[in-house]
């Protein structure tokens, strides 16, 4: 295990952007009609949100999300200390997306920019890096933006294994840190682990000069069920599991999520799912599901466990208490079709 503790940070807002365009798996032409209901029942995914091909870039979505975040929090761009981007669908690999965002908002030269190449575990890794950058700077306080998410649909054209699973979506999380206020902030406990032997479970390859993602459903299931519960239990050993009222798992599919939830000793927690309405939105699935739940429900406590797992095979989990003043929203981004 690889346990980290960071204290002094608070999540101020979570803004999610999803495409307005809705696809229905019961009408997905790539799937035989006779198999569609079974697919929805077992994956848990009825509707998906996707952008039309080449209609928008990941960077443009991040820009929209950051604008909304800065406006909501009344934060001036000059007050941002760091930008961390987690995506596997940048429009180009050079330069880093965080540098493009730096330019778009004319952030200070002192604003630290960092990209992370991770998928379904990426939100937790991004949160760790964002808090860590703020904690380690000499001033001991600052504001940062964690931008994560993907336009996965552009990697899975005509792939009937992946198309019914994945949706597009991004999320912007605003974090504030003040080392002088540590006593008033509850700690974040992280466990960040990797099983490189599982790198073939989800990978990309080039076909006719076009990058496509390949998903081996059985390998993803086997790795998820064999290792993720153990990974989460290691983190639970550092906290009081009975205090956790909400567990947000990466929204992989119903088979995997049910199998993991069944193996976790967290008796008082709810395990909300957004698979039915949003599908698997890769690294944005955790913040989307968290915000969807908070917008409709009041959890018994705001002591949460978030766990992401997938591409790599990478696993990241965090336990923390969500500040009660957090702003959150899910915005539908207009699409042409």
């Amino acid at each position: 295990m690889s346990i980290y503790k960071i204290q002094g940070g608070t999540i101020r807002s979570i803004v999610n952007l999803i495409p307005e365009n809705i696809k229905d798996n019961l009408e997905e032409e790539l799937i035989p009609v006779a198999d569609r209901e079974s697919l929805v029942a077992h994956t848990g995914i009825r509707y998906r949100r996707t952008f039309p091909m080449d209609s928008v870039t990941t960077t443009e979505l991040f820009i929209q999300g950051i604008s909304n975040t800065l406006h909501t929090l009344q934060w001036d761009a000059s007050t941002i200390t760091a930008i961390v981007c987690v995506t596997q669908t940048p429009e180009t690999h050079i330069p880093a997306v965080s540098c493009l965002l730096h330019n778009a908002f004319n952030f200070n030269v002192s604003t630290t920019c960092l990209d992370i190449n991770l998928g379904c575990s990426g939100y937790v890794y991004g949160l760790h890096q964002t808090l860590g950058l703020l904690q380690n700077q000499l001033e001991g306080k600052g504001r940062a933006l964690l931008c994560c998410g993907d336009i996965t649909s552009k990697l899975i054209q005509n792939d009937k294994t992946s198309i019914p699973i994945f949706s597009d979506g991004v999320s912007i999380t605003a974090v504030e840190f003040d080392s002088n206020n540590e006593d008033n902030c509850s700690p974040f406990f992280f466990n960040l682990e990797t099983l490189g032997s599982g790198h073939t479970a989800i990978r990309s390859e080039f076909v006719d000069n076009k990058e496509v993602m390949r998903l081996n459903g059985i390998e993803v299931f086997n790795y998820s069920v064999q290792y993720v519960p153990k990974h989460i239990k290691e983190l639970l050993a550092s906290v009081n599991a009975e205090d956790i009222s909400l567990v947000i798992l990466h929204q992989a599919n119903k088979l995997i999520n049910d199998a993991i939830a069944k193996r976790l000793p967290i008796p008082n927690a709810e395990f909300p799912s957004t698979l039915f309405q949003y599908g698997n939105t890769a690294s944005a699935s955790i913040p989307i599901t968290l915000v969807d739940f908070l917008s409709k429900n009041k959890p018994k406590t705001k002591h949460l466990l978030l766990s992401g797992f997938g591409v790599g095979f990478s696993m990241g989990s965090v336990v923390f208490t969500l500040d009660s003043t957090v702003h959150f929203s899910i915005i539908e981004f207009p699409t042409d079709s």
């Binding site: 077992h42 459903g217 059985i218 390998e219």
Partner: protein, 74 residues
Amino acid sequence: MTEQAFLSIIADELMLDSTKIELDTPYRTLPTWTSLNSLLVVSRLHEETGSMITAADLAKFNTLAELYSLISPK
């Protein structure tokens, strides 16, 4: 797990009549053997026995008997 229980699980997950499948049946020839249904078989067998059948196993083997040998005690 008995052979009969194993075949019953296979039939259940593949939505087939259990009397129509036998241990020497090549699973890839079954009409409902799809990527999703093969995942359901792997998931159910793991649930029932704790044994993991991998994608490499499915690619390597041919008959249900070979899958049964992976999950039955040696």
